[in-house]
């Protein structure tokens, strides 16, 4: 496109030149060659027909979503059992989304490879265009390896639960397929792809953040100029994930993470806006309504007890995938966007947290407002306050889900897992809004952290979907028309 417009503009802006009709065939020929070259070069990164589309195989749109759901469920179960915190959980979800989508991409007529779209993702193995594949088998074997890598730091490699799911699903695919050659080829391709994505995961800086995690927490006592600094408490001696913000984003560069800055500076003056926030928070706490209390519990999404905030949104997505009877290609496209958006949200939020280092409400209310025994309803987590993690995760997820399903009412039953009643929401954004404010009801965030983080999540998810072109094999990916 750029080349054609340059030629066009040159002609238009040189009125003195008369056309040389003899050159027209030459110019046309050059145009055809240029268009063909440019088109081929960008086939993988723009929407349109998929150059790697495998016509020998059953399309990914013709398979049910079962295999994708099985791996998302397995990952979230392990996140819960292995006590994985929100940012690493979101990382595992992000790469699982990448693996699932890339596994079925050759079976999607308008699919676009992530290779070349995600920074540093290159040399992925390719499916042989002349041979038949079974996409669920490919997905099963790549997802196993990527889940195993994503959780390896928490449960060790080669965990039995993951192996069991892979083996059971392979057995089922093998039986249904009844074609050993196709099954073996698909399994091998899935393993090759999974290993390549595992290799990609290993270059995102995660290992560095494990091995070089000596963090000097700033101290208010040590620097009187910074009464605003977050400081570890006697209970929480280790600040959580101080280097998480150094990881490589998926599908965005740092400038597209929409990193926020606190709109109102810290102040201990009781007429300041900051202090007003704290008084409002304290006021809500002491006059807590039943609805606010339940809201804060519902979205607490504590690691161990629940699937964590990003996992909660993956479960909400699952309810929609089932409700709209998404096929395998659609489910993988959704989980890919959602997983990457949640991973990026965690990264962006944690990056800002440890650059702003803002003190938590508990400390402010105990020390500045002189309420030494005050405790928030939710337990204060061991990392700086600004911006709110859950608000960021929720803003990002709501943006992705709204793109796929539109403004739709829904009932979320995820937290029946902890004995809480299902809740009804008018839209994904309304749910995200509630999730965000729940942190204020719970007494662990000020207003600005909630508002800014939700905007940040919305923004980075939109950037992601603008940047990265996937494809689901259907003309209308969004189910909004329903």
């Amino acid at each position: 496109m750029q080349r054609s417009s340059k030629i066009k503009s040159k002609n238009n802006h040189d009125p003195m030149k008369k056309p040389h009709f003899a050159l027209i065939p030459v110019a046309l020929g050059a145009l055809i060659v240029a268009t063909a070259f440019y088109g081929c070069k960008n086939m993988n990164s723009t929407s349109g027909s998929n150059v790697t589309f495998n016509t020998k195989s059953k399309a990914a749109t013709e398979f049910p979503n079962k295999m994708a759901i099985a791996w998302v469920d397995m990952l979230l179960d392990q996140v819960r059992f292995q006590r994985v915190g929100p940012p690493p959980a979101a990382r595992a979800m992000g790469y699982l989304g990448v693996a699932m989508y890339q596994s079925v991409m050759p079976g999607i007529s308008n699919g676009n490879s992530l290779e070349g779209q995600l920074k540093d993702l290159k040399d992925l193995p390719k499916a042989d265009a002349d041979k038949e594949y079974d996409w669920p088998t490919v997905l099963n074997n790549s997802s196993y390896l990527v889940c195993d890598e994503g959780l390896a730091r928490f449960m060790g490699p080669n965990t039995q639960n993951l192996q069991n799911l892979r083996d059971n699903m392979n057995h089922m695919c093998d039986s249904v397929l009844n074609n050993k050659e196709v099954f073996d080829r698909s399994k091998k391709y899935g393993e090759d792809l999974g290993n390549a994505i595992v290799g990609y995961m290993q270059t995102d800086q995660f290992d560095y953040t494990r091995e070089n995690n000596i963090y000097e927490s700033p101290s208010r006592a040590g620097d009187p100029a910074h009464p605003d600094w977050y400081e570890v408490t006697d209970v929480d001696k280790t600040p959580y994930e101080p280097f998480w913000g150094t990881l490589r984003p998926l599908g965005l560069d740092t400038s597209q993470l929409c990193l926020s800055k606190p709109s109102d500076p810290y102040s201990s003056e009781d007429t300041s806006k900051f202090c007003m926030f704290c008084m409002k928070l304290y006021g809500i706490d002491t006059s807590f309504t039943e609805d606010q209390r339940i809201t804060s519990l519902y979205w607490a999404d504590c690691p161990v007890e629940t699937f964590t905030p990003p996992g909660h949104w993956m479960k909400i997505a699952k309810q929609q995938v089932r409700k709209h009877n998404f096929n395998l290609a659609q489910a993988c496209e959704l989980y890919c966007y959602l997983g990457m958006a949640e991973y990026n949200a965690g990264l962006a939020v944690w990056k800002v947290k440890y650059s702003v280092n803002l003190v938590r409400p508990k400390t402010y209310i105990n020390e500045i407002m002189n309420k030494p025994d005050w405790e928030p309803y939710l337990e204060t987590p061991p990392f700086p306050e600004y911006p709110s993690g859950h608000s960021g995760f929720s803003g990002a997820a709501a943006m992705v889900l709204t793109k796929f399903f539109g403004e739709t009412e829904f009932i979320d039953s995820t937290n029946m897992v902890i004995g809480l009643d299902p809740r009804h929401f008018k839209s994904f954004d309304a749910a995200a809004e509630e999730a965000a404010w729940s942190r204020m009801y719970g007494g662990i965030h000020y207003e600005a952290a909630i508002i800014d983080a939700k905007v940040m999540g919305n923004c980075l998810a939109k950037n992601l979907m603008d940047n990265i072109k996937l494809g689901s094999g259907t003309d209308e990916t969004a189910m909004a028309k329903k």
Binding site: E290, R293, E305, V417, G419, L420
Partner: protein, 179 residues
Amino acid sequence: MNKITKLTSLLLLVITLASDAQVLMKEMLMQDQQGVIDKSVNWPGKKVYYTLKYDSTKVYSYETYTTNRYYCALMIADNAGMTNAIKVPGMIRDLVIDTYFEFYFNNGNEIKTFTMFYDKNNKWYRIKFAPQWGCRKEELWKRVNGIESYTQLLTSMVAQMDHNLKLDCYKSNDGSAIK
């Protein structure tokens, strides 16, 4: 010498197991619990008697998981016969590492929820409750560590209620459980 070593190892093992023993088990939540506190703040010169009476269980299922809600009533009185006891409906959710206790205090005008979080791993608990104006004595809900038994947990909780609330506020108002 060998016998002493074996005996010491056995003793260490028993101590280790005992210190890791679970304070709160599902079966306990389905049994009535009772206790007494020696010196009442609300009723000077008297003791505080309490009974946590089990009522029913409701099962919540999600995918392959089930979680129970245990409904109960907390009765508090100044006499062992529990005459004119204050009756507060409650609900307990027993999760993986936390147990949530909720008690619905009714002063006749409104119901306010008392929440207690107990951390089973670290054996501490804390309370969050903003009672009705006129029903509060103090607002010092203490975080308490080193809870080694269910009775100790409940006794400590009721002692904090006795210290911080005007318990007579809740007399004759049984308050319906929020089910």
